[in-house]
């Protein structure tokens, strides 16, 4: 990105190839909509170009990218009031590697459907911190930077969001709540 900042614009192509798939995946899970996720991915790279002079060689590029992604999503949400729609795994153009083993196919597929449905039930903030926390390329210090909160708060929020996702998942799996 330093090269891009210094005018070597083709270097952005390399960054695009390396990161756009994962960024798109993040935005898809965050918004639940393929075309919104594509538009937002494009906007993120557009802003990288526009604000390239503000890039500083501190911390990692991915952190900056997700910071921009978060801003773009917030802007988008402000403009449109559409609630996230759960992704139907059947709509996804799955990687062959992800294709579940034949025997467990239906149940694994259902699990994914439930997971996406549960994800859509969370607040956007919870979804955001949870998805960020599962990215290996980001440290909690960077996540805290992206979310503009303390490291401790980011960890607490991520864990709380995971518990909520689990509760939503099991609620959807067993519509009648178990007596505890």
């Amino acid at each position: 990105m330093l090269a891009v900042r210094d005018g070597e614009l083709n270097a952005l192509g390399e960054l695009f190839e390396r990161h756009h798939g994962r960024l798109y995946g993040f935005l898809l899970k965050l918004t639940g909509d393929r075309s919104t996720a594509e538009d937002l991915t494009q906007t993120v790279f557009q802003r990288m170009l526009k604000y390239r002079h503000t890039y500083r060689d501190q911390g990692n590029f991915a952190a900056w990218m997700y910071h921009l992604a978060r801003r773009c999503t917030a802007d988008h949400v402000r403009r449109s009031s559409a609630a996230p729609r759960p992704i139907d795994p059947a709509d996804l153009n799955l990687h062959a590697d992800d294709a579940p083993h034949a025997a467990g196919q239906a149940s694994v597929h259902d699990d994914h459907r439930l997971l996406y449905a549960a994800l859509a039930l969370l607040d956007r903030d919870d979804r955001e911190v949870l998805l960020l926390s599962r990215f290996q390329e980001l440290s909690f210090a960077e996540i805290a930077g992206i979310l503009e909160c303390s490291v401790g708060a980011a960890k607490v929020r991520a864990h709380r969001a995971l518990r909520e996702l689990r509760d939503a998942f099991f609620r959807l799996q067993r519509p009648t709540p178990p007596v505890s």
């Binding site: 210094d6 005018g7 070597e8 614009l9 083709n10 952005l12 192509g13 390399e14 695009f16 190839e17 756009h20 798939g21 798109y24 995946g25 898809l28 899970k29 393929r34 996720a37 594509e38 991915t41 494009q42 790279f45 557009q46 170009l49 992704i87 795994p89 709509d91 996804l92 153009n93 799955l94 990687h95 062959a96 590697d97 992800d98 699990d111 994914h112 997971l115 996406y116 994800l119 949870l130 998805l131 926390s133 599962r134 290996q136 440290s139 909690f140 960890k155 607490v156 991520a158 864990h159 995971l162 518990r163 996702l165 689990r166 998942f169 099991f170």
Partner: protein
């Protein structure tokens, strides 16, 4: 409920976020881990959280459409031609001007670019020139012999420069991808990797190999869109000509504006312009 006198469930569960975080060392918080080993309640709680975290990590994501790559490169091109970028680029040019091996080889290679296109694609995307089809006419035969000679000369030149790249890790890495790509229905990420290599690999040899791998899957919209997006940023005439021929073979009308642009751009290599004009007739 206490399973061990030293540790309450409450305290143990406070350590769960760390256990679930792959950033934490597996040896951290041993006291809490040993509580987990003996307390069934905490085990259950931990198991459900692990299951969800794993499911989330492994949840399939969609592949972005080929249109996205096209939009991105179109935006990049536009920015490159904006006044601000041109100004900055001119300043940069002033500071450093290093020619890569491929730039230096580019000129002599460009002379043979047309032939190489046939070379690389082989009969698979048959960009046959009319001369090569009529063998009875003596003039055609003479041209064919001449062509053959030039192909041989170019073969040596290309061979020489490709030796530099042959053992690079990228070529080795791409080999596996190319093998998968030669199967009937390669998984989308194989196609994606080939397009990435075509867009980014610094070696023209690798880019040509990637293009060759993609040639078998022209029926896929994502392949045609990928090649088209890469054409805008390609600077090597050899690769440019191969891309143009491929798009012409695919009869992809959406390639027309980009190819038209190349055919009229005076700074474009002559062979590339010729290939572009030929392609326009086909499209």
């Amino acid at each position: 409920m206490d399973a061990t006198p030293q540790m309450t469930c409450q305290t143990a569960r406070e350590a769960f976020p760390e256990f679930l975080d792959f950033r934490t060392a597996p040896t951290a918080r041993m006291a809490e881990r040993s509580h987990l080993a003996v307390c069934p309640d905490c085990q259950r709680e931990f198991a459900t959280l692990t299951r969800i975290a794993t499911a989330l990590d492994e949840a399939p994501s969609a592949l972005p459409s080929g249109r996205m790559r096209q939009r991105f490169y179109a935006m990049l091109e536009e920015e490159k031609h904006s006044a601000r970028s041109i100004h900055l680029a001119a300043e940069r040019e002033h500071h450093a001007r290093g020619l890569s091996l491929w730039r230096r080889l580019g000129l002599p290679l460009a002379g043979c670019a047309l032939l190489a296109a046939g070379f690389v694609g082989g009969t698979r995307f048959s960009a046959r020139s009319p001369e090569s089809q009529d063998h009875s006419d003596p003039e055609a035969r003479r041209q064919l012999a001449d062509l053959q000679q030039r192909v041989n000369a170019m073969g040596q030149l290309v061979g020489y420069s490709l030796i530099q790249q042959r053992h690079s890790p990228t070529v080795d890495r791409l080999q596996g991808v190319l093998t998968s790509a030669s199967r009937e229905n390669p998984p989308p990420q194989v196609i994606n990797e080939l397009i990435s290599a075509l867009a980014l690999d610094p070696s023209a040899h690798v880019r040509l190999s990637a293009l060759d791998g993609l040639a078998a899957h022209l029926e896929q919209e994502v392949v045609r869109a990928g090649v088209l997006a890469c054409l805008a940023r390609e600077e090597n005439p050899l690769v440019q000509v191969s891309m143009i021929d491929l798009l012409a073979t695919a009869r992809d009308a959406s390639a027309r504006p980009a190819i038209e642009k190349l055919s009229t751009n005076v700074t474009t290599d002559r062979n590339v312009r010729d290939a572009a004009r030929r392609a326009l007739a086909q499209l």
